[in-house]
């Protein structure tokens, strides 16, 4: 039995952080950069243990800061390696300058970001402000709802990032505390099955890498139209991500028996009059409330946003078209627009879905739970708006 299958190819109760570590380990990264930050630390500790036990054969680089972590994985990726790192909040913004490099160089790095509130006010608690503060770096961003999805998405991330038609770095986000430290039953696939799932990448053309002695320069200055051309190519690659996320999810479903809906997951939206849109662990709570409201006769549905960057305009438009009112639950705030950021982006597709009442709900900051009662309130408010009552566009909870 392989070293990896001694710990995988089984179902275990593990935390979100551990699930991410398993996901990364199963994909056989060449170089892993590690710097601890709450609530991610256990993830890199698990990887360190895998490395020490001979389960993870890689260059495990314990860097002295997240900025270095990003540069290490970018450099190693440009040299030709498969790379992985993980961070959260302050760490994510500390590597901000390097993230532009990674995306600009089209390095297929996979990174976990454990959502935690970053600067402004010192906080060691869950929130998505870190994720939205790097939305324009040019990275692909996905969001997980459960520990199982964390593991599955990590594997899918390598498949997506290294796809020859994409070649973009990918972030997997999941809620700090609510998922990072939550232990759930997780099925850990056998490493051979993951190898097989990723083997399609081997039949694709090789991406350019920095080979010594070949007079190659990585990161040359983009001058004039050369620069513009590369930005257009980057933008075009981002566009190609959307349908590929659906394809990858379906392929994953066929290989491992678990599907998540691709860019978004719709829950009971087909005949719904009103819809709540949200992401992350709050989705789990929302499902329970949707079911309860349905029992009461309310025609309400839920859209789970899995792909954040690029924003899944077409799939979301399809899901929300014809609805009477829409609410968006954010775990962060969009300065400048006085509302939640996911709300703002959903509002931007109003011309596709019709100008109906849209409501922004901001909840779950500072590790304050997004409770069933809160979601119940949100749904009631959306319902009233759909009936023509006057409504407040932005509501902060609790």
């Amino acid at each position: 039995m392989s070293a990896q299958n001694r710990v995988s190819n089984q179902t275990k109760v593990i935390t979100g952080n551990a699930a991410a570590a398993y996901g990364a380990m199963l994909c056989r990264p060449d170089v892993v950069a590690a710097y601890p930050i709450t609530p991610q630390s256990e993830l890199i500790e698990q990887l360190a243990q895998f490395h020490a036990d001979g389960i993870l054969d890689c260059e495990y680089v314990t860097v002295e800061g997240e900025n270095s972590a990003q540069n290490v994985v970018c450099g190693a990726s440009m040299a030709g390696g498969r790379t992985f790192t993980a961070t959260s909040s302050y760490g994510l913004v500390y590597m901000y300058d390097a993230m532009f490099n990674t995306a600009g160089y089209r390095a297929p790095v996979v990174m976990i970001n454990v959502n935690r509130e970053p600067p402004g006010i010192h906080a060691v608690c869950s929130g998505q402000q870190d994720m939205i503060s790097v939305r324009d770096t040019g990275w692909v961003q996905l969001i997980a709802e459960t520990c199982q999805e964390i593991l599955d998405l990590t594997i899918q991330a390598f498949r997506l990032a290294e796809d020859y038609s994409i070649q973009l770095p990918v972030i997997i986000n999941y809620d700090g505390y609510y998922l990072s430290f939550l232990a759930e039953s997780v099925n850990i696939p056998a490493i051979e099955d993951v190898d097989k799932y990723l083997s399609v990448l081997k039949s694709q053309p090789k991406r350019p890498t920095l080979i010594p002695g070949e007079a190659i320069g990585c990161g040359s200055h983009g001058i004039g139209m050369g620069y513009v051309e590369l930005r257009r190519k980057h933008m075009a690659a981002m566009d190609r991500v959307m349908p590929i996320v659906d394809v990858i999810d379906e392929e994953f479903g066929q290989a491992f028996g678990r599907r998540y809906g691709g860019q978004i997951e719709t829950y009971r939206t087909e005949d719904a009059d009103i819809v709540l849109v949200t992401s992350g662990s709050a989705v789990g709570t929302a499902r329970t409330v949707i079911d309860a409201k349905r029992e009461e006769g309310m025609k309400v549905g839920l859209v789970k946003l899995r792909l954040y960057r690029p924003f899944p305009v077409l799939r979301l438009s399809d899901a929300l078209k014809g609805k009477k009112a829409i609410g968006v639950l954010d775990r962060s705030i969009c300065f400048g627009w006085g509302c939640g950021p996911l709300y703002m982006e959903t509002k931007a597709i109003s011309s596709n879905i019709g100008h109906v009442p849209m409501l922004s709900f901001i909840d779950g900051l500072a590790n304050m739970d997004i409770t069933k009662e809160h979601i119940g309130q949100m749904i009631d408010t959306i319902f009233k708006a759909s009936q023509g009552d006057s409504y407040q566009e932005v509501t902060w909870l609790p």
Binding site: D30, I216, S220
Partner: protein
Amino acid sequence: MSTIEKKRPKVFEYFQSEDQFAGGVAFCAGCALELNVRFISKVMGKNTVLVGTPSCSAPVLNGQNVAAWHKLGHYACTMTGVASSATGLARYYQRAGIDANVVCFTGDGCAQDIGFQTLSGAAERNEKMIYICYDNEGYMNTGIQRSSATPFGASTSTTPVGSQSQGKTTGSKNMPLIMSMHDIPYVATATLSHLEDYAQKLVKAKEKAKEGFAYIHVFCPCLVGWKIPMDDSIQVCRAAVRTNYFPLWEAVDGKFQMTHKVNKPKPVQELTSRLGKFKHLNDENLAILQSKVNKRYKLLQALCEAPE
């Protein structure tokens, strides 16, 4: 007419390849950095991958769209990411069994200030690579601003001379000594007037980089920033060595030794009088600078004489 026996200076024996740079590149006329970078390309070999950053070297080390000014491998990154990007490259090359000589090549601003953390981290991890810092004592490419390598009393665009100021008020960091405290196999100082010494150190660094981190600190005058005539760069290097302002030494596995002994060091004024950036230096400040030079040299001497 006596016959001429054409000589090749001994330093030629260290050249592994011809100059990898194009004939005409955009360095100032008389710039010591141009000599530095061409010299390195000849001594270090074609499997060298230079890791560079915005600086005086960037317009030449960096490509422009698909074209480049030299034939060495090159990786461009931000000032905060030089040693860490090089770590990523070096680690993957080792893992994949690819023969590569990873060389970080930055100015003092990057090495000593904004990129210091990552350099220190890479050294502490004993990454197998070389870091060459060309010390022109300031941020020259952006307009001659001061850095932590700028010496006491120097005039720069952010420590200018005026009625309220006589230049930089603090001394500089002793960077090579700081690096030697990282428990790494090789640290050395070098300059462009003593090229054979520099070549030997480059060769030794390449060898030692197979075991761990090698750091070379090169005194590299900036004729524009220091306000010196364009034919004087090499003379300035020589003066720096002769005054013990920039002693030439190396530390191999922690053992210090002078590689060029100066028996009768000249007063530092022999150096400062050549540099426009010290034109305003009064006697009091000159004395302070001299005392800093003396103190630094005494410490180095003590390290060289320390028992094993």
